[in-house]
Symmetry: C2
Subunit: 351 residues, 2 copies
């Protein structure tokens, strides 16, 4: 078997809400950065379409100096995203493949039949049936799903592969001996289950640290539970703070209420050696190896009662499994394979 | 001089929020319908990109059965608009010109350099400086302004012409003897000046009829003034109701607070012979012939004090001037000239 190692010319289209990588939260920006840098490290010719204040070893094509999260005049944001993507399609001849990170919705469908270079999109949310009905007007447009759970929702569309996210396992470093607290890290929403996390910690009689940006939901529903000793509010964590918080936790609580297509915090915690206590929703079983890197519980009652099972897991083994499954290298390799397949198919049709 | 009378192949892109023409309110849909039907009547080959429940003598290309105002599952609406426009660009070879009615914002910029057929856009709002800064990344993309006032705001962009809106002056029929009330017709917002209209009517000691859709603003700020005898709430008016309301009014009150790029209700009222009492803002002086079809007042105080000047205007003359200036034929001719110029320029570049 001959492995094709020739460099690809790749346009990678990030959202233009903030920098790549993001200053604090921003899972799409984080994954985009990791993939772009991994592709560059493998010798590919990558052009990153992102804000001018982004940091990358790829060629940076910046339509805007900064992102619209940081400038209230940049509105409506949709047009900014659209023109960032258009800038890549206008240069389609420079690329073998255009990869669009559809943070909100796949605007790239609008270019699917206009671009001479294939556009593949990674979707970062769980689409509704109505969204799928609309997108199905472009049944040929290639999608990469970020889990089998998401691929299932994309039924009828052209899902060319499932590629689980990778993370930077070097920086989400292993810590053998944690401190004595539980951790909730994520946005404060009903879907993320922060109130359930508080309930679990209280009933288990353990300290809980909450890390997320302060917002209306926090002030109304979360803050009344925060006492600074049993339930502690850390604020939004930047990258180094996250690593420290994960490493020090006995377990990450993930009592997720909605069906999510992935769960980046799970992989990040595991990379630090921290096992997770998760509810069985969405893609959780694809990310967590039950009884190895965490425990997947049927309901909250079981999570409370059997929480010690999570603490008993071997942190070193948690780390090893996380590195094997969520190391960035695996993600980069899988995307390169997708790119080659799509670029090759286009080339073959032309020949 | 030889007049080019050959038929043009025109793609006319309507918004897909509701039908064309609209069931009740919807100035963009109304103007789009009038232009499309006028172009068909002149023998042009028009394809209207609009919802499937629209009514037209043009060829209808319907990407959706109905509009997203009528279906909460059709969300986010931006993608529906985008794919409706994309459907036309995908068929660009079928058309000499693509005319996009940018009801919200000029998404067509994203296709400006990808479409082999020129896309011209009519803008229906007053853009902000930040919007202009963004759109200026496509300085070649042709815009039609709907007033000189709007053209001024579009400084730095490629404004190829100013074309005032036309209306259906046959249906907005003349009525010589009005009833004894004033009329406010428009959305209930601070910008439209409904509270100022109420103040003027009260101080002038005259009856006022309000016609607009009920909303939060109405319930909070307008309803307390409605007594059913001096201030009467009609609800939202459909087309025949509008014509009746205009015709019966002594004057249309237009104490506009924001700077609007046109003012369709002014032209509609005038077509029925009803003079207007307007404040001097935005494009008002371009639509109203002062002391002929209405009076343009400097401020509200003057409007109250000199309101009888409006009643003294000759309704027949108001009608005649409105037909001459806002008859649909004039608008259709001016758009055809724009289309020929842009299609010809493209043809010349190719030759």
């Amino acid at each position: 078997m001959i492995v094709d190692a020739s460099p690809l010319r790749i346009a990678h289209i990030a959202p233009v809400a903030t920098t790549v990588p993001p200053p604090k939260s921003g899972s799409v920006e984080l994954m985009t950065s990791l993939l772009t840098e991994g592709l560059v490290a493998r010798g590919h010719d990558v052009t990153l379409f992102a804000t001018g204040d982004s940091t990358t070893r790829a060629k940076l094509h910046a339509v805007y100096a900064h992102g619209y999260w940081h400038d209230e005049n940049m509105w409506p944001w949709e047009l900014y995203e659209m023109l960032n993507l258009a800038a890549a399609v206008e240069r389609a001849g420079d690329f073998d493949i255009i990869h669009y990170e559809a943070a909100y919705y796949p605007m790239s469908l609008a270019f699917a039949r206009l671009s001479p270079t294939p556009i593949v999109q990674t979707l970062h949310h769980s689409p509704s049936e109505a969204e799928i009905a609309l997108w199905s007007k472009y049944p040929e447009a290639p999608f990469v799903a970020i889990s089998k759970e998401q691929a299932r929702l994309l039924g009828g569309l052209n899902v060319v592969d499932v590629v689980l996210h990778g993370i930077d396992t070097d920086n989400f470093a292993f810590r053998e001996k944690p401190d004595d607290y539980l951790l909730f890290l994520g946005r404060f929403t009903d879907g993320k289950g922060v109130l359930q996390a508080i309930e679990v910690a209280k009933r288990a009689g353990m300290r809980l640290i909450l890390a997320a940006a302060e917002d209306e939901y926090y002030r109304e529903k979360v803050a009344p539970h925060v006492d600074g000793t049993r339930v502690i509010y850390h604020g939004e964590a930047d990258y180094p703070a996250k690593v420290k918080l994960y490493g020090g936790a006995r377990a990450l609580l993930y009592p997720i209420q909605s069906s999510e297509p992935f769960g980046l915090v799970l992989a990040e915690a595991m990379s630090c050696g921290t096992p997770v206590a998760a509810l069985d929703r969405g893609a959780v079983r694809e990310v967590v190896d039950d009884a190895v890197t965490g425990v997947v519980f049927a309901d909250l009652e079981q999570m409370v009662n059997e929480l010690p099972r999570v603490f008993d897991l071997d942190r070193r083994r948690v780390r090893e499994r996380a590195v094997a499954r969520f190391g960035a290298g695996r993600m980069v390799d899988e995307y390169v394979a997708v790119y080659r397949r799509l670029a090759g198919a286009r080339g073959a049709r032309r020949a």
